[in-house]
Subunit: 203 residues, 2 copies
Amino acid sequence: MDRRAELKARHREAILDAADALILDRGRARFSVDELADRADIARRTVFNHFSSLDDVIMTTCTRTLNRAVDEFLAVAGVTPSSHGSRVHLFDEITAAIRAMDLPSLVLYFFGLLDGDDARKQNADSVFMRSSEDLTDELTRRSGVDEFEVAILVSTLMNGIAVVARHWMVQSGGTLDESSRRLWDSLLDRLIRIVGDGFSTPS
Amino acid sequence: MDRRAELKARHREAILDAADALILDRGRARFSVDELADRADIARRTVFNHFSSLDDVIMTTCTRTLNRAVDEFLAVAGVTPSSHGSRVHLFDEITAAIRAMDLPSLVLYFFGLLDGDDARKQNADSVFMRSSEDLTDELTRRSGVDEFEVAILVSTLMNGIAVVARHWMVQSGGTLDESSRRLWDSLLDRLIRIVGDGFSTPS
DNA sequence: TACACTACGTGCAACGACGCACTCAGTGCA
DNA sequence: TGCACTGAGTGCGTCGTTGCACGTAGTGTA
């Protein structure tokens, strides 16, 4: 890899790491671009060379966290494919990772509500809208774990995301507008169809 | 300080640090620009943005080492201005620093033998050609140490440089051409005049 | 001698970080 | 309502790093 590309990628990662730390410290949007740049040890202007907005930084950070949780799942699943205890531990890990994310923003991002970007909507589909069968198939192939166990993990993962996201959204004071809420409800519907009976609705 | 200037200075220091390590590992000119750049984690081309040649890098590294030895001398002298034991220790430190340098190249550099740069010849004068009185006066003023003790230190420093440089030069196989040797002899003559009876000539 | 090979050093253009001045939107206060 | 202040985001010129092609010098080898 090109040294230029390396340096650029390193800067990008530095921004995401800084955002990750700041989100965990103070929650979303509780910090300025200046603080982010300071923490990443780069110039303020450079943030906007990598991301279109501060929201974009936060969203990307959240998706990265999610992807890492999935990767960790695969790694753990690959190492101990039949240990039930490690599965339980894994659920806790995933739940913790999800709780660390800014779910409302993340979900809105996946649905492209924050802007009309078609690429993001496609990304949303590829992550959340993929059918449970497809997701289970892929994870089974990649991890080599028994398909039934993977199906359970997938259900739990999707269920966890839905429940925690809903929880966050209610706590944040219902800032969704009407169209956003309709999309959110349709997400819940689709998730319910995917994960089946395992889904539980909070008040 | 500007962030740009900071980055640039950091690169320069990285080059010098890498050169320092490589010189200690293998001796002068036993490494390529590519190795230097790799070790400094920068592009090869960037070396020539900071220095005019690989020799320039080596010379600058040596002068930096010398300057640090002098700075350390001043710091130590300032802290314990009347401790004879620390003085003896200081001589060992300076000698060690000098031994770590690539003295032949350093001396040649100061005398402007590697190129005809007038600025370098002036720099040579300002460091090596300054009379012992001037150097003693300045060091006395800066350190606050008794002038007589400073004079002894200056003699020892100059003496040490001359002896060790001579030693290195003989060991390196007498690669000096005739004109270089004449200048080297004149350096010895001037140093002998400066440091007086303390000077000892190796075979 | 001819030739391959290695390493130094340069010229040049592209690219990304940077600084700065600026607009704009939100917010608190008189 | 008017006004000051803060922070997001933009436009643009500058500057340093980088990659690449190139020329050159020294060295080993047929």
